[in-house]
Symmetry: C2
Subunit: 428 residues, 2 copies
């Protein structure tokens, strides 16, 4: 193939086996939408540039697919979905009773350096609850993230939980402005702690703020009560931070009551998106040490868009989950019967039988190759088809079809109606 036609770097063709895994994950996410009462929506792939300049974080802003459309507008391919869904809710749902629970499954685009399992176009599912400040809502988001892992049969995971509200309360107490907070938390997210501290030092707010952040950063524990106790000791003089810690405690207790999986509290944990204001989390698969999803509370995003309501949500990474998931969840080849017309005069009967079978929902293929019967049979056997329906001159004459049971090796002559009846147990 000409080089200039090849699939672009960082993009990929998703082949049938992988697509079947992705479909399996998506249908599980859709089942959870129903079990938890989330309503699925879809936002446009192409959005105004300005939407993602609000609060998506510097990291993402620099890696957006942006261009000018034929109408001269500056547009981007959505680099994440939460801002789009928040806009949808503000634009279209202001008359609905709160809380509003929204789900989505959409592709997102980031011009990142491609790596194993990381593409420039990838898939996110999402669960978002708008209009509730209650820790019950945060806990539900943790619960559904955990439930998705359980229902996909991925047992070896843990949920890392932190709270940007605690970090922001400290920074606010020492007079650090919100846009600087965003930058500091962004650096902490990328584990660039010393750069974050340099910024704080340059503000000349004293060494205490750096000291407090550093001490929180060191608190990581599988025992949430212990982590929270230690954190309280660190921020004991900042009532706003204590309040945020109480919020985190309540969320974790509720989430654990609802059956969330193993929890690790990480007090120095931050996420790269600027809109988080409270509890944040990521779900990790243990051995692989990769995050397969995450989320958190973002109480100020919809306010910027014109409707000031609190919100909390999460976004399972569908491609990441597919990487982790065992191949054996992909169902086997579903075709039950291959129809082979050995002579041209048999084609009409083959078409009629095929039409009857498919109208009944019985997975059926017609072999259009007119190859040697033995070759056709060996193809059917290799693909694991249960039956082969053979139409030769004799069958055309007698208006019957020879149905061969590939497992038993037996065969019988039947009318088309009889074949449909016999195989109707396989209809889908």
């Amino acid at each position: 193939m000409r080089d200039d036609l090849l699939t672009l770097r960082g993009m990929r063709n998703i082949l049938p086996r992988e697509k079947a895994k992705i479909n399996k994950i998506e249908s599980e996410i859709r089942r959870l939408f129903k079990v938890y009462g989330f309503k699925e929506v879809e936002t446009p792939t192409i959005e105004p540039l300005e939407l993602f300049e609000l609060k998506s974080g510097e990291e993402i802003r620099h890696r957006m697919y942006r261009f000018t459309d034929l109408g001269g507008r500056n547009v981007v391919l959505r680099p994440e979905v939460t801002a789009s869904v928040a806009k949808l809710v503000v634009q279209e749902m202001r008359s609905m009773p709160l809380p509003i629970k929204i789900g989505y499954i959409l592709n997102v685009f980031r011009y990142d350096e491609p790596q194993h399992g990381r593409y420039r176009e990838f898939k996110q599912g999402g669960f978002e609850i708008f209009g509730s400040k209650s820790p019950l809502a945060d806990a539900e988001i943790l619960e559904v993230s955990s439930r998705l892992m359980d229902s996909l049969g991925i047992g070896n995971y843990y949920v890392k939980i932190g709270h940007e509200g605690v970090l922001r309360a400290i920074l606010t107490r020492f007079g650090v402005e919100e846009n600087i907070q965003d930058r500091v938390l962004g650096l902490i997210d990328k584990e660039k702690l010393s750069e974050a501290f340099e910024i704080l030092a340059s503000l000349q707010k004293g060494v205490e703020v750096t000291e407090l952040i550093k001490r929180l950063w060191e608190i990581k524990s599988r025992n949430p009560a212990e982590a929270l106790r230690k954190a309280e000791a660190v921020v004991k003089d900042i009532p706003e931070a204590i309040e945020q810690l109480d919020n985190l405690r309540e969320i974790i207790e509720l989430a654990q009551a609802s059956g969330v999986g193993e929890v690790i509290v990480d007090m120095g944990f931050a996420r790269g998106l600027d809109y988080y204001t409270g509890m944040i989390f990521e779900v990790y698969v243990k051995d692989l040490r990769i995050a397969v999803g995450g989320g958190g509370r973002y109480d100020k995003l919809t306010g910027i868009l014109g409707w000031d309501i609190p919100a909390v949500g999460c976004a399972p990474g569908i491609d990441r989950l597919s990487l982790v998931l065992n191949d054996d969840i992909v169902p086997k080849d579903d075709i039950i019967c291959l129809i082979i017309s050995m002579v041209k005069e048999g084609d009409l009967l083959a078409s009629r039988l095929a039409g009857m079978m498919r109208a009944r929902g019985i997975p059926t293929m017609v072999d259009p190759t007119r190859r040697d019967l033995n070759k056709a049979l060996s193809y059917a056997s290799k693909r694991g088809f249960k039956y082969v329906a053979i139409i030769g001159s004799k069958e055309v004459e007698n208006k019957v079809v020879t149905l061969k049971d590939m497992e038993a090796g037996s065969q019988e002559e039947l009318k088309p109606e009889q074949i449909v009846e016999k195989l109707s147990q396989y209809s889908i």
Copy 2:
């Protein structure tokens, strides 16, 4: 909301009711993938510009979303899927036995003037058969297009069938080059007949070619045999065209044997995509006179990409189908039980019960608003929830939950385990 943040012109938010309809159509298409043995794939949204400059047709080329990416490549958002899928097959499937049957459900992008029901981003399903010249393959594509309508309960449709092979055979006979053929057929597609004839006249190939095309153009009939007879009379001196007509006759006979719906043969019918070489068709809903899908044979496209195999396929338009489809295929609200925690001390029990219910797959919501009980009950009644589980101080003390049957009006105190058992019949 700030004007510059609003959803772009021609783009749209798909709200829950519409999304549920689209999901219903998509799952029906996926069921047909299995019944007919098509394997689903996904191609990248972003492709090299050159791919769609090959054979997509002038009409589409002028309305593509094209831009330069951060790496300096000229790229486009796919304006149609067939070229991408053909590339996928050539790049990734050369070692597979033929025929290769591929399905897809993907978004496409065209910078068209927005109209009612026409957006700049829309959804196509697709069924493509690679590697078979047999009329059985063409007939199968007609059959599956028709089956989709039947299985969605859309009865009032017809299939308009033509054959670009017949038109191209005539043009070739009179020495019209392929790229001029593409332009002429493109104009015929847009019913700009006189412009098409002007081009032919300018070539000075004589008046006969125009005359033949004009006479074919007039042949439209619900009786395929009649239409084919008339067409044969027109092209009787051009054996290559007669051969193409025989091909069309065979395809229609096979498709009718397999149960395809009402057929109208239209000998002057052409489609705007340059890659068609044989049978072409569109599916119309009668009263609305809108095409909800179409397709045809394109035997030369993969050859340009480096693997010369014949192909035939179709692309149902999912948004168009949704316009036609009755709203009542959307399932009702699925939540079975609303859990109301009236006191803060009840939240843990509410979380525990919710977790147990959802782990069992019973659609359950927790009311996070702590509103007045009567308001919560009236909300539950309005949404049509079957049960409400109430947790107040008394319930917390006795470790029970009051379950109210919203239809019967009755209520009873139960342990969480008993509620899960009682409602497990609703699990999904």
